[in-house]
């Protein structure tokens, strides 16, 4: 009856760290596919216009994606953790409005650089509270704040616009650091590195993945799930505030309709970058490549004089395609296998 046993040391097993070699993992990665697509679109652009390869022209092309990408980095982490922030474009509007107001009462560039990101941070904190403290689903909470934040801008501005930003403020959206390298591109590169390290090399990043895959088990492993989610909302708000500084500086004016519809493009960028919309997986290098691709496509359409509405149709199709393709792909693979095995 007693089925208890004493183990006589069983044949021990060796554990390779990984089964697939690094090369193999790179070869089957989504990022490599994105890189190929990016190169292909780059080539298409060179065919579309002889002026495309001009360094100044290329430099101009970067404005299409740098500001959105700044937000996409933080959004990627948020989506990996299983949440989303749809209010980012409205945060830009509110932050920009606050900066405009500050100028109108006579503040200078230094104050603007503090106010813009600070408003973003505050909006992020508000979203974070709604989700982590009051338990609202983030998609609902941030659809609400999307209307709220932009609504406040409309109330303050009506059909007016703030302009008259100080001339040295222009540097952050229009300035060059060296030759054709803009300040925005430098900012983009710096944040790309920071977020890559944060997500892929730190314990914070690891916790983000754990939360996205199984929040309960993450909690049971001692991860402060709510605190990390709150920080992610803060980061997203902060990045939206920083993007607001760049965009306001580049446009030189603030209207309440600023950055309208950007949340869609940012989410598309994140998903195109290989982040699972349901959370749990993704990478920052993927998002960087996705940013390049979207920037190149926008610029290419510009070169070809394609109207803006076509661009939004394209973004919509891209979003559906990117989410749908992997499923169609695996279904197709199964189908193919079942034919072959017969």
């Amino acid at each position: 009856m007693n089925s208890e046993t004493q183990s006589v040391s069983a044949a021990s097993q060796s554990y390779p760290d990984r089964l697939q070699s690094k090369l193999r993992r790179v070869l089957v990665s989504w990022e490599l596919l994105l890189l190929c697509v990016a190169v292909f679109i780059f080539w298409l652009n060179t065919q579309a216009s002889p002026y495309f390869l001009d360094p100044w022209n290329l430099s101009d092309a970067t404005f299409n994606f740098t500001e959105k990408a700044l937000i996409a980095f933080a959004m990627a982490l948020l989506i990996i953790s299983g949440e989303i922030d749809l209010s980012v474009a409205s945060i830009i509007a509110l932050s920009s409005t606050a900066m405009g107001y500050a100028v109108s009462i006579g503040m200078g560039t230094t104050e603007l650089l503090i106010i813009g990101p600070l408003v973003g941070l505050a909006c992020g904190a508000f979203n974070g509270l709604l989700v982590t403290r009051f338990g609202l689903p983030s998609i609902v909470a941030t659809i609400g704040t999307m209307s709220l934040f932009r609504g406040i801008s409309y109330i303050i501005l009506g059909d007016k616009a703030y302009s008259g930003y100080p001339s040295d403020f222009a540097f952050f959206g229009q300035g060059y650091v060296y030759w054709v390298i803009t300040f925005e591109v430098v900012l983009f590169a710096v944040f790309a590195i920071i977020y890559t390290l944060l997500l892929h090399r730190t314990s914070f990043g690891r916790s983000v993945f754990a939360i996205g895959n199984n929040p309960t088990a993450a909690l049971f492993s001692g991860i402060r799930v709510n605190r990390i989610k709150f920080i992610l909302f803060l980061l997203t708000g902060l990045m939206a505030g920083i993007a607001a500084v760049c965009l306001t500086s580049r446009l030189g004016s603030t209207r309440p309709s600023i950055a309208l519809g950007w949340e869609l493009e940012i989410v598309t960028m994140v998903v195109l970058g290989g982040v699972n919309i349901l959370g749990g997986s993704g990478s920052i290098p993927g998002v960087v490549l996705a940013a390049f691709i979207m920037g190149l496509v926008t610029f290419g359409f510009g070169l070809l004089n394609v109207p803006g509405i076509v661009m939004s149709i394209f973004i919509g199709l891209l979003l559906i395609g990117v989410i749908g393709l992997p499923r169609v792909w695996t279904k197709g693979l199964h189908f193919w296998k079942s034919i072959v095995s017969r």
């Binding site: 208890e4 046993t5 004493q6 006589v8 069983a10 021990s12 097993q13 554990y15 916790s207 909690l219």
Partner: protein, 509 residues
């Protein structure tokens, strides 16, 4: 081996598998195995963790397609190309890791996909609830069909899973470790149910790591080892020791590890611990080197008490002292930082993070210790993960294999490994050997004793009587949220704790 046994009786198998193989990247899960199930009989499938038992279940239920081999049902070759097809030919299963819907009611979970409908195609809720109630009563489960599943404990969820398997008309019932989450009382009810199914002529495949159960309920056995079929035959012709040897491939003796260290000073002291709904006035102390067992029926509040000590929920009253310091543990992070860790009962939901590789699961609670100003070192992570995998004899293709691809018992080892890696002072194990095979179970037991002898304080919650008695230096019995008895190793007996847990006679030691 015992092939002759089955030719001697005349009944034909209802279901016959032959030459079945299945490969996964880096693993040969099944290689040329065969299996027969007979009507009105229970066939026990035994094998170590990762032997391929659940894989054959998934093949039988159409979840996986075999790479090779044939399946005959009633002497007719059949292709189980999808779960729908499998359920149409009358195969149902209670899986090891049950997939259920937390936000649906008990009745909806039972009838999902085949709810009774009226002429307009709408679900007849009332009828569904009645039928559900009947089914639940049939398996001796007293549950309200209308409450949402998320309000139930893991054992009750399991009962819902069993009810679901019986809600369709079946020929073949597969039970993959059905008793792992159940306590003595529900197991008895399950036996009654199985007898009834046998009488109805159903063919039953019963997977379990508990040999007393197998001998009690099964007629036949089939043994898998490392994905191969090692032997099969009638159980009454085979002694338990031989069966164990066939399964593990070596001789095993039947002794629980004895304490070699001495008991140290008191580490943990819990006084008047209470919770608004789950338990009340719990007081006990725990010394270094001691193993304290908690026994009770499902719903006795043991897991809730442990989760409260671990900071998942907050106590409403009472005090906890660790190393003479009074602590107010508000969340698991604090508990872990102070050296109290918890191996949960619900492995899939609370234990492993599916989607992450093995090594990331093992290092997850130690990330702060392993990182340098927040930065991780993969080399360090791999080396920690490797050393604990070796200690626990984990069976895995590589350390970056996703944890959900491991067999159930090996997932449990990952959870234990991740807590040992934090080098705790007090380790609470809730059903620690649930789903672990006999050889590794002994390894886990020996290891637990070794930990205690090294000065760790161990709490074990177990519904397995031999385990709780064999391992513990002291045993506390709980019933309906209260401590009803406490025994030392010298005074305890199975009859006593069963009686206390069921509340047949009040007895406070």
């Amino acid at each position: 081996m015992n092939e002759t046994a089955q030719h001697s009786d005349s009944i034909k198998p209802l279901l016959e598998l032959s030459g079945i193989s299945k490969n996964f990247p880096g693993v040969r899960a099944l290689s040329q195995v065969s299996l027969e199930l007979y009507p009105g009989q229970v066939t026990a499938l035994v094998g170590e963790n990762g032997a391929g038992k659940s894989t054959i279940v998934k093949i039988l239920t159409g979840i996986y397609q075999p790479d090779d081999g044939r399946i005959d049902i009633n002497q007719k070759q059949t292709r189980l190309s999808s779960p729908q097809v499998a359920s149409q030919v009358g195969i149902t299963a209670i899986h090891q890791e049950t997939v259920m819907f937390d936000n649906l009611s008990v009745a909806e979970n039972i009838f999902i996909g085949h709810a009774p409908k009226n002429m307009w195609g709408l679900i007849q809720t009332k009828k569904m609830h009645q039928d559900a109630k009947q089914l639940l009563e049939r398996i001796g489960a007293n549950l309200d069909p209308s409450i949402e599943l998320k309000n139930l404990g893991i054992a009750s969820k399991h009962l819902v899973g069993i009810a679901r398997a019986l809600s369709v008309n079946t020929q073949v019932v597969i039970m993959d470790e059905p008793t792992a989450a159940l306590s003595y009382k529900e197991i008895e009810e399950l036996y009654v149910l199985i007898e009834r199914l046998k009488a109805e002529g159903k063919a039953i495949l019963f997977i379990s790591h508990k040999f007393d159960e197998i001998y009690r309920i099964a007629d036949r056995y089939t043994v898998f080892r490392d994905g191969e079929m090692i032997g099969k035959g009638l159980l009454n012709e085979l002694k338990e020791a031989e069966l164990v040897k066939m399964m593990v491939g070596r001789d095993v003796t039947g002794i629980f590890p004895q304490r070699t260290g001495t008991l140290g000073e008191t580490v943990l002291e819990v006084k008047h611990y209470s919770h608004p709904t789950e338990f009340d006035e719990i007081s006990f102390s725990l010394r270094r080197g001691e193993i304290l067992g908690f026994y009770g029926l499902v719903g006795a509040g043991r897991s809730e008490l442990m989760q409260c000590l671990f900071g998942i929920s907050e106590s409403s009253n009472g005090a906890l002292t660790l190393d003479n310091r009074t602590l107010h543990i508000k969340n698991p992070t604090q508990a872990i930082d102070n050296g109290i860790v918890y191996v949960p009962e619900d492995r899939g939901g609370q234990g492993v993070v599916t989607g992450l590789p093995i090594f990331e699961n093992i290092t997850l609670p130690s990330l702060n210790k392993l990182s340098n100003r927040g930065f991780l070192s993969l080399a360090k992570e791999f080396s920690i993960a490797r050393s604990y995998s070796e200690k626990l004899e984990l069976r895995a293709a590589s350390l970056d294999q996703h944890v959900e691809l491991l067999s159930g018992g090996n997932q449990q080892k990952v959870v234990i490994a991740k807590w040992l890696a934090t080098q705790p002072k007090v380790i609470i194990l809730d059903e620690p050997t649930k789903g672990i095979d006999i050889g590794s179970k002994a390894a886990v037991h020996a290891f637990m004793r070794e930990l205690a002898d090294d000065g760790l304080a161990v709490i074990i919650v177990s519904s397995e009587i031999p385990e709780v008695i064999g391992m513990s230096d002291r045993i506390i019995v709980m019933r309906e949220g209260l401590m009803v008895a406490e025994y030392s190793k010298a005074t305890v007996s199975p009859e006593l704790i069963v009686r206390d847990a069921a509340g047949i006679a009040e007895h406070v030691a």
